[in-house]
């Protein structure tokens, strides 16, 4: 646990900063413990023990600002470090927009760190032997199928506990505490032509009861086998269905472009979009940061500002930018949070009835490309243009016909989303960005 002594040290750092000539300061003490067991081909391959503790101090001195961190936490080291930090800050240009958040915005209900139920007492019962057993139990061992054999299977089980303790010189005190259980695996197979294919799978949860890694190896292997025998794709426009595992790829650049940091610098294709209909009616993106027991939930951001549910995009209308205290002072925009905490894309589909997942969306689309993995690529934040490598399948009549390889998808985020056909209701709980299977029409693929 986070000790009283560690809390005292964090508070003393505030005093050291004031003594060194700062007028205000904020300190974050971060601490984590993590144990990992990696396996290779059904045997333990690596055991790793991690223990990290550091202090980050934001210093506001003479209208100037800097952020400094260290893992040397003896009082002597900290005093010298903070004195040097204040001295450095005083060499910078003044910036009156650098401020602490106003008191009414700061979190007041994060006292124990466990307000959102993200710490599982079962973590305390984990032992080296249990970790090893879990890792080995998830491993596949040797496998062989018609026309292929498993040549390598890597897995990694880890569990961890994390604390963030935040204090500032204006009375803020907040604690976040969470546990996490994770398993990741990658299977590499070779077909009878000597070609290799890889598949991977990942499961994670803050609470052990929600952690189900048993099928990871089988899922990874299934992915790899499905890719055998890819065919080239003729360049052209196709419907695109993006699997829920990778669909956040077309949401993250939108969230980044709604950040006031980018907008203030003119480096966002969504500047000037607040309150405007930029996306289709069917697009609803919510920030849902306070769902108890769910990965990614947080009571406060790194400034100590309280989180709350809020719409980001509602019926295609941009409802909120991400505006921290600095950007609010700089731009005159209403401050919100510094970033999306746990963005959730709501389901939308023109069909009623049963829950809609990948299979139903593919059936409704008829034919197109199912994207199961992105391979590199990037986007231009100023224009929204993007180009990504993809891996996946050509499908017809709602069924995969053959895998495709060496294929690129290219476009612009505004026009891509204008062609939204459906958003499923199958987002994975273990992800911090909850984005379901998505479908878009008339997307440019190059093969």
């Amino acid at each position: 646990m986070l000790t009283a002594e560690e809390k005292t040290i964090a508070k003393e750092c505030l005093r050291m900063a004031l003594d060194a000539g700062a007028q205000k300061a904020r300190v974050t003490l971060s601490k984590s413990v993590m144990d990992l067991v990696s396996t290779l081909n059904g045997e333990v391959d690596k055991i790793t023990g991690c223990y990290d503790r550091s202090i980050t101090i934001s210093i506001f001195a003479d209208g100037r600002y800097g952020s400094f961190s260290t893992n040397k936490l003896s009082r002597t080291s900290l005093r010298d470090f903070i004195a040097g930090a204040v001295e450095t800050v005083k060499m910078l240009a003044p910036d009156p927009c650098r401020v602490l958040p106003s008191p009414e915005r700061k979190v007041k209900d994060a006292l124990t760190g466990d307000e959102l139920g993200l710490r599982d007492p079962a973590y305390d019962g984990m032992s080296a032997e249990k970790r090893r057993e879990t890792a080995l139990a998830c491993a596949l061992g040797s496998r062989e199928g018609e026309g292929w054999k498993l040549i390598s299977e890597e897995g990694e089980y880890s569990d961890s506990q994390y604390w963030a303790y935040l204090v500032d010189t204006e009375g803020l005190e907040a604690l976040h505490n969470e546990t996490s259980f994770e398993y990741w695996t990658e299977a590499t197979i070779e077909d009878d032509k000597g070609d290799k294919y890889t598949g991977n799978w990942w499961e994670a949860a803050p609470l052990l009861k929600d952690f189900h890694p048993g099928e990871c190896g089988a899922n990874a292997l299934r992915q790899a086998v499905a890719q055998i025998g890819p065919k080239p794709l003729e360049s052209g426009k196709y419907n695109m269905v993006i699997d829920r595992d990778v669909a956040s790829k077309v949401i993250s650049p939108i969230i980044a472009s709604l950040n006031a940091n980018s907008i203030q610098q003119g480096n966002s294709f969504l500047g000037g979009s607040l309150g405007k209909q930029v996306f289709p009616q069917g697009m609803n993106l919510m920030d849902t940061p306070r769902i108890p027991g769910e990965a990614g939930s947080r009571c406060f951001d790194s400034e100590g500002v309280a989180t709350s549910d809020r719409p980001i995009i509602e019926n295609g209308v941009v409802k909120n930018y991400f505006v921290n205290s600095y950007m609010a002072a700089k731009t005159g925009l209403e401050p919100t949070l510094e970033d999306a905490i746990r963005p959730t894309l709501q389901p939308w589909h023109p069909w009623t009835g049963n829950p809609v997942g990948k299979e139903e969306i593919m059936r409704q689309c008829g034919s197109g490309i199912l994207v199961t993995e992105f391979n590199g690529g990037n986007s231009n934040p100023a224009t929204g243009d993007f180009s990504y490598g993809i891996q996946g399948f050509f499908f017809r009549d709602g069924k995969p016909v053959h895998p495709v390889s060496e294929v690129l998808v290219t476009g612009n985020f505004k026009s891509l989303w204008a062609g939204l056909l459906a958003a499923g209701d199958d987002a994975r709980r273990c992800m911090v960005k909850l984005v379901p299977t998505l479908a878009f029409k008339d997307v440019d693929f190059s093969g």
């Binding site: 800097g66 910078l92 290799k196 180009s387 690129l408």
Partner: protein, 477 residues
């Protein structure tokens, strides 16, 4: 202090040689056949210019020691964020538990092998840790003013200067004690241009292993030139029609091709596990005669250079492909023992928090004899010329690699015609390597701040002469 001062490093980390020996002995008590210690004291400082003033600073101190125990190819790893003996002993005991894991240990790491002596590839005249921020504020302001003077379309300039010094000391169960002080600085600039209601951005960076003395007015002038170069074309650029076509890759930053398409697949951990598309191809032809591809840790001042890697192996220049034949993977001590060869000095890590794994340093191709870049372009009827990139990726098993092109030109009938930007290019590593049909004589090492993200982040370099690749898939509309 000199970089060869053994006692300096022992004092820096507060340990004695006797304690080092005791820690290694503790690590091997559980049945391990190798143990090493990696001590690190890193100081990072950063200044940020935004909206015309240098108004933010960041710094970070990272201090600690990692203990690694090997049993064959199996690894036990633990670290402490202090170098007090009891904490190190605890880490050694934790790492030692790998010794009790069942499984064969056929290849014992670290058998003594003749290695080249360590060279000196960087020096520090002005230490980043004692240099005052006030000295660099005018430099960043000068850089901004020079950029604005060169182009009236500049809307915003964001620049970041960081300097880092890492002192490291390594000790292992062969009783080898090695140490190094590694400087590294990066200047990165993003310029946002506006014209007739349109916005374009250009990002450039330069990064070297040297002290703060390298940050001069002349250096700012050079980076200002780079930051505005080619902006006219950016405003004119559009997406090409996508599909497969010949690609001429300009000298310098196109070295990302070697990093993604070949370098990762040559890293020996992937080959030891049979995962790489190049597994089992040692000694075979993978490229045309005359092509030499190198991974080099000995280029003076280069971002990827290292006097010793992070396992205490001297930095080296490694020919991966010689005259078109695959000659060497990139090894750490584990894979070197597995393949029965000497380690190549590629065992690198992000910090003491990580165990070392095979990583590239500066990867490049030697110049060829096929004339100039103009000659290569002249030989293409319909294709694309690319010269600026932002990032890349590869799938090791399939060999499919991609890289993102920030700027280039269409080639039509041997001439550059329409500018293009923001397209991804995809290909297959072995096919692309075999498909290099011409290599110009203009090798250029690119000094941008490249960082490789394979499990851990490490600084790398890349370079290449202009090359013609017969066929890659280009993204487009």
């Amino acid at each position: 202090m000199t970089m060869n001062d053994r006692q300096y490093y022992l004092d820096r980390f507060g340990v004695s040689e006797q304690q080092l020996r005791s820690l290694v002995a503790e690590g091997m008590k559980g049945g391990g056949d190798w143990c090493d210690l990696f001590f690190e004291d890193s100081t990072y400082t950063e200044l940020l210019l935004r909206d015309g003033t240098v108004n933010a600073a960041v710094s970070n101190i990272d201090f600690g020691c990692g203990v690694r125990v090997l049993k064959g190819e199996k690894t036990g790893y633990a670290y402490a964020e202090t170098t007090e003996y009891p904490a190190l002993l605890k880490a050694a005991k934790a790492a030692a538990t790998i010794g009790s894991c069942p499984g064969a240990a056929a290849h014992k790491a670290g058998a003594p092998t003749p290695l080249p002596p360590a060279g000196e590839y960087y020096r520090i005249d002005e230490d980043w840790r004692t240099a005052k921020a006030a000295a660099f504020v005018p430099m960043l302001e000068l850089l901004e003013s020079r950029i604005r003077k060169k182009d009236s379309r500049v809307f915003k300039v964001i620049s970041m200067l960081n300097g880092n010094v890492s002192e490291v000391m390594m000790y292992n169960s062969l009783d080898e004690l090695t140490f190094d002080t590694r400087p590294l600085w990066t200047l990165a600039v993003t310029v946002i241009f506006t014209k007739d209601g349109r916005t374009e951005t250009q990002s450039v960076s330069r990064s070297f292993r040297s002290g703060a003395e390298a940050v001069t007015a002349e250096a700012m002038e050079g980076i200002a030139d780079m930051a505005v170069k080619g902006v006219d074309l950016l405003f004119e650029a559009s997406r090409p029609k996508g599909g497969q076509m010949p690609v001429v890759m300009a000298a310098g930053a196109s070295g990302i091709l070697l990093h993604e398409a070949m370098g990762h697949a040559f890293e020996a951990d992937f080959n030891r596990k049979g995962q790489s598309i190049f597994s089992g191809r040692m000694g075979k032809r993978v490229a045309a005669k005359g092509i030499n591809i190198i991974d080099d840790g000995t280029i003076p001042g280069n971002r990827g250079s290292c006097r010793y890697d992070d396992e205490g192996v001297p930095g080296q220049k490694t020919y991966m492909v010689e005259d078109g034949i695959l000659r060497s993977y990139l090894h750490d001590r584990i894979s070197a023992a597995y393949f029965g060869v000497a380690p190549t000095g590629n065992g690198r890590r992000e910090s003491f928090r990580y165990n070392p794994i095979p990583r590239m340093r500066c990867t490049y191709m030697e110049s060829g004899n096929d004339g100039s870049v103009e000659d290569l372009i002249a030989g293409v009827k319909k294709g694309i010329f690319v010269d600026q990139f932002s990032n890349g990726q590869v799938k090791i098993g399939e060999g499919d690699f991609t890289f993102y092109v920030k700027s280039g030109m269409l080639i039509e009938n041997g001439r550059l015609t329409m500018p293009v930007k923001d397209i991804n290019i995809i290909g297959n590593g072995p096919e692309a390597l075999a498909g290099i049909t011409a290599v110009a004589g203009d090798l250029k090492i690119d000094d941008s701040g490249w960082t490789c993200g394979k499990e851990q982040s490490v600084p790398v370099g890349c370079g290449i002469p202009s090359v013609l690749i017969k066929k890659l898939t280009v993204g487009g509309e």
